[in-house]
Each structure stands twice: as structure tokens, then as C-alpha cells.
Amino acid sequence: MTATLPLISLRSVGRTYRTDGIAVTAVRNVSFDVDQGEILAVMGPSGSGKSTLMNMIGLLDLPSEGAIYLEGTNVADLSEDRRSTLRARSIGFVFQSYNLLARHNAIENVALPLVYCGVGHKERLGRAEQSLEAVGMLHRAHHFPRQLSGGEQQRVAIARALIASPLIILADEPTGALDSRTGAEILALFAALNQTGQTIVMITHDPGIATQCRRTIHLHDGELVGDETQIPLIPKRSVAS
């Protein structure tokens, strides 16, 4: 194992937005690493810069100060196209509001990232079936999002995030729109995925969720105010990669 290089490194990352000449700093001087196989919660009240941080880790945005390294590569050095392709192959997004395409059924939604990886139609559908099976949703493959419950939609969204075997899953308030029982099931699914070695970064304002992750990063007003590793409720197994 050559796990010397962290999967993601943030070095003095800052993000300042300028709208109408007024500069607003959303994130300032944040540094931390995420290692392969970790499950990590980024916590903070609303407006603390969580989403800005997630957008940058997810290659949707670039830091205005500092640098983010994905497997040792400074993402700012990559072209916009290259970052998009990297999103398709290496990042799996899970959103609070699921963000499934309403006019496509579950299996088509799951297969969507593979379109941008240049995978052919037949293989896309085959892999989408496997991915749906992994989240226990194969029996709903041909249902449209409106025919699925919130928890089911989020499972489909997780299947979509998994399909390209990403380096990391970025989940933004994945249980925020769900009732507590369904939310717990989704968290259990994430825990199970983590046990197979999947790196997961979860953004939440819910301390109850954060306590289920081994490591929690606290943000306040855009600054990193805490990085603690706690006694895991989910026992972390050693990861063979």
C-alpha cells in the first residue's frame, strides 16, 4: 500500500466572492487532509462555508487562495474540461434534494455519469443495475423519481454517485430532507459503503449525524475551528485496497 499521499489535501484554502464590488469571504485559511477509506463529517451552522468547501472539493469551484490537491495534483492546474471529466470519474455527489432528473427513470439516472465517461449504452445499463443492486433498489429500476419515496430517491442518488467507482463520495446534507428513520437507514448505507473502503465526506449541521462519523471537522464563519477524531460508533475496519 502506498498510502503515503493523502487522497485530498487542502492547504490554506480560502474563497472570496466579489459581487458588485463587495468582497465576501466564505472560507478562509482551511487546511486538512482526507485519507483513503475515511468517513468524515464537515459540521457547522448555516453560513459557515460548508457548501463553499464542498463545491471546491467537488471541483465545481476553485479556491481564491491556497490550493487543493487531489491525489497530489493541484486542481487549479487542470483545465475546466479536465476537472469536469475528473468529476465524472472521481467524485460522486449526493445532494440533500436528491437531484435526480425527473424525466428519466431510476436506471437512466444512475447511468448518467457514465455518459460523460465515454461508456457505451449496454455497459452503462449493466453497471447501473449493479449499482442499484448495491443500494437495494434494483426492483425500482424503471420507476421515475416521482414514483419513489424520498428515501428511495436518495438511494438511487447514492447508486448514481457510486457507479463510476469514485475516489470520494461527497454528500451534502444527505438526510436533511428525510424523516429520522429513513435518515438513519441512509446513514447505515453510507457506513456500509465506508466499510467496503469507500471514502466519504459528509456535510451536515446535525451533530447527531456527525457523531456517527469517526472524524468531524468543525467550521465557523469560514474558518476551521476543530478537527477531532472520536471513538467510532461505526467500528472502522482496516482497509485492504
Binding site: N55, T85, A88, R103, C117
Partner: protein
């Protein structure tokens, strides 16, 4: 993302809203249909004219009687047959550019063969007529000089007359037919030259005068209704024409300053001018039809812009899942292209149907050529690219973060 995937996504998106998709492409449908129809009708009219020009023959001048004065009264053109067989002779002998010439008189009569009869034009002329018009025989022979001199009872049939009087497998050569109670022997059948030209029966000029048409009191024994003359080369048309005019003025003793009592015309040139006019009108109509294509393009652009706005979130999702800017652009460009191509295809089908209906109902000749169809389709593809580009570009430029925030 490949082009093919772009088209698949586009078809999927358009199928979800069939009425809207159809209404969007309607402008293109109408534009392409009108272009195809106008092209078909214009090309048909040109074909018809070309056929007429061909049927007259190349480099042919036609000399017809003009206005004449009788005691100070000016009579209508052609009311007196001022041309004579000796004029024909003089033209042939004195104007070197003239290769062949023939005078004709014509009328209509019933031709009868056994149980069948047919009303047609009887043209009395000389063998020179067929030379002038480059008109070949499909069987038999032309008139002999003896028959021309002695008013022989012989006839050469145009292909339409031959078809109407004889069974398809029968050989008309040597058969007897009757025209105005005069029995005539069929000695030749002419090649096809065009529907308007083939409905005719030729007899020697002498025969026509003596037996059918010469009885009218105002006809001079020597006179002919018109003369056709063949000029050796294309460049000599104008020279030959003015020489004929000079010669005939002299022969007809037209005083200086007075109008000619004849007219020399170049029918092919007149028809070519007409052809030019048709082409101009057709181009004008195509230009008008293109305006509807333009309007169609604008309506596609309009709907695409609305569609991009409606689907901002979808664009955000696709970008987050790894869609590059160019993938988003391709997706929306493909939608515009599919709309235009489908519209173009429906337009071509309706245009072809429409022009065939027009052809049947109005009895016009229409000609649908693949070039016009290719042009119309190329136009609609260009419309799709031009009017689809801006909305597609706009979609690709959306910030994925902002796009994901929209409801």
C-alpha cells in the same frame, strides 16, 4: 459525450413534449415545404419550355406575315398571306447562312383510318421543314421530289396521330388514310418531339394547296402561311435575320419608312427570355419561402432559450456529474438540430406531396430534383446550427453551482 448520445438525449427530451416540439418545428416545415414546392413547379415550367425550344429546333428563324395596308387601311398581322414559295426559294439561294428553309400552310381536319378518326393539324410543307427542325423519321421516308412537284397523295404522320389511328402493333407505312375525303398513303412516321408537336400530319405543300387548303379565295396559289429557316451556326442568327429582312423588303417592294409586311422571329430566343423570367419569379418565391425558414429558426431559438431556462437545474446536475461545457452545448445544439431536421424531413415530404397534387390538379409539369431537396435540408440544418447555437452556448456557460441552486 458523442454526437450519437447527443441525438439520443435530444430525441428523449423532444418526445416528452410532442405538441410543443411539433409547433416549434412548424415554421421549418412550412419553409422547407414551400421551397421544395416552388422549386418543383419552377423546374417543371423550365422543363416544359426547354422541351418546346428543343421541338422547334436549334437556330431556327420563323417568318410570318406582318401588317399590310390596303388602300390606307392597316389590317391585322397575318390577315394577308404575304409570303410566297418564291420568297423561300430566294432566301435559300441568296442568303448563304441559311442551310434549309421551308414554307408551310396549315389548317385542321379530321383524319380517318378504317374505324378510327382523329382531329389534327394538317401541315402542307416541303421536306425542307424536317431538315430545319432536325426532325427524324421513326419509320418510312420523307416526300420524294416527284410527290412534291405533282401533289402526290402521301402523308407523313406525327407520332400522336399514328398512335391514335393505328393499333400499337400495326405498321402504318403503306396504309391508306383519308383527309377530307382524299385518300392518302402513309409514307412516313416521325419521331417523338414533344406532346404539343407530335399531333400533326404533314402533306406536300402542293397537295395541301391543290386538295385541301388552297380553295380560300384570298390565297394566292404561290403563297405560304409562314416560312421556317435554319441558320448554319448560332453566331450567325442576327446577321441572317437582317439579311432576310432586307431581302424580303426588296422582294415585297416595301417603301422606305413603311413597316415590314412580315416578321422575322427567333422563337428559341423568345422562349429563352421567358425561361429567364420564370427563373426570376421562382427565385423570388424561394426568397419569400426562405423568410418563413428564418421565422422558423427564430421560433426554435425562442423555444430553446425558454427550454434552457426551464432546465437550468438539469444543466447543473449534468455539470456536477461530469458533463463538460461542450457536452452541454452539444446536447442543446442536438435538440435544435433534431427539431430542424425533423421539420425539414416533414417539410420535404409535404412539399413533394403538395407539388404532386398541384401537378395533378392544375395539369402542370413539376419536377422534384434531389438537388432542391438537398438544398432545403441543408438550409434547415444551417437554421438549426445558427439559431440553436446561442441557446446552447448560453446553457454551457451557466455556472454549475448557480444552476444547482435554482428550483
Amino acid at each position: 459525450m458523442t454526437m450519437l448520445q447527443g441525438f439520443q438525449i435530444a430525441l428523449h427530451a423532444l418526445r416528452l413534449n410532442p405538441l410543443r416540439s411539433f409547433l416549434t418545428m412548424l415554421g421549418i416545415v412550412i419553409g422547407v415545404a414551400s421551397i421544395v414546392t416552388v422549386f418543383a413547379i419552377g423546374a417543371g415550367a423550365q422543363l416544359r419550355l426547354q422541351e418546346q425550344i428543343r421541338s422547334i429546333g436549334a437556330n431556327v428563324l420563323m417568318i410570318t406575315p406582318g401588317a399590310v395596308y390596303q388602300g390606307g387601311v392597316r389590317l391585322k398581322d397575318g390577315s394577308k398571306l404575304t409570303m410566297t414559295e418564291s420568297d423561300v426559294q430566294a432566301i435559300l439561294e441568296q442568303i448563304p447562312e441559311i442551310q434549309a428553309a421551308a414554307g408551310s400552310i396549315a389548317g385542321t381536319a379530321q383524319v380517318i383510318h378504317e374505324g378510327k378518326n382523329w382531329n389534327t393539324t394538317i401541315n402542307g410543307t416541303t421536306t425542307g421543314h424536317f431538315m430545319v427542325r432536325d426532325w427524324q423519321l421513326s419509320s418510312g421516308r420523307y416526300f420524294s421530289s416527284a410527290e412534291e412537284a405533282a401533289a402526290g397523295k402521301v402523308v407523313i404522320l406525327g407520332s400522336t396521330v399514328a398512335r391514335e389511328l393505328f393499333a400499337p402493333d400495326a405498321d402504318p407505312i403503306g396504309a391508306q388514310i383519308r383527309i377530307m375525303k382524299v385518300p392518302l398513303e402513309v409514307v412516313g412516321v416521325l419521331d417523338r418531339k414533344g406532346p404539343a408537336q407530335d399531333d400533326v400530319a404533314f402533306v406536300p405543300l402542293t397537295t395541301a394547296k391543290l386538295r385541301f387548303l388552297g380553295s380560300a379565295s384570298n390565297i394566292n396559289r404561290d403563297s405560304v402561311a409562314y416560312i421556317i429557316a435554319k441558320v448554319a451556326a448560332d453566331g450567325q442568327m442576327a446577321g441572317a435575320r437582317s439579311e432576310i429582312e432586307g431581302l424580303l423588303r426588296q422582294r415585297h417592294r416595301v417603301p422606305a419608312g413603311q413597316e415590314d409586311d412580315f416578321k422575322v422571329q427567333d422563337p428559341a430566343a423568345a422562349m429563352e427570355a421567358q425561361q429567364g423570367a420564370i427563373r426570376t419569379v421562382a427565385l423570388l418565391l424561394v426568397a419569400i419561402a426562405s423568410v418563413s425558414l428564418l421565422v422558423g429558426g427564430i421560433s426554435i431559438m425562442n423555444v430553446m432559450i425558454v427550454s434552457v431556462t426551464e432546465r437550468t437545474r438539469e444543466i447543473g446536475i449534468r455539470r456536477a456529474l461530469g458533463g463538460r461545457m461542450r457536452d452541454i452545448r452539444l446536447q442543446f445544439l442536438c435538440e435544435a438540430l433534431v427539431l430542424c431536421l425533423l421539420g425539414g424531413a416533414i417539410g420535404v415530404l409535404s412539399g413533394v406531396t403538395l407539388s404532386m397534387t398541384v401537378a395533378r390538379m392544375a395539369g402542370w409539369i413539376t419536377s422534384i430534383d434531389s438537388e432542391a431537396i438537398a438544398l432545403a435540408l441543408a438550409f434547415s440544418i444551417a437554421t438549426g446550427l445558427i439559431f440553436g447555437f446561442y441557446p446552447a452556448h448560453k446553457a454551457s456557460k451557466l455556472s454549475p453551482i448557480e444552476a444547482l441552486k435554482t428550483e
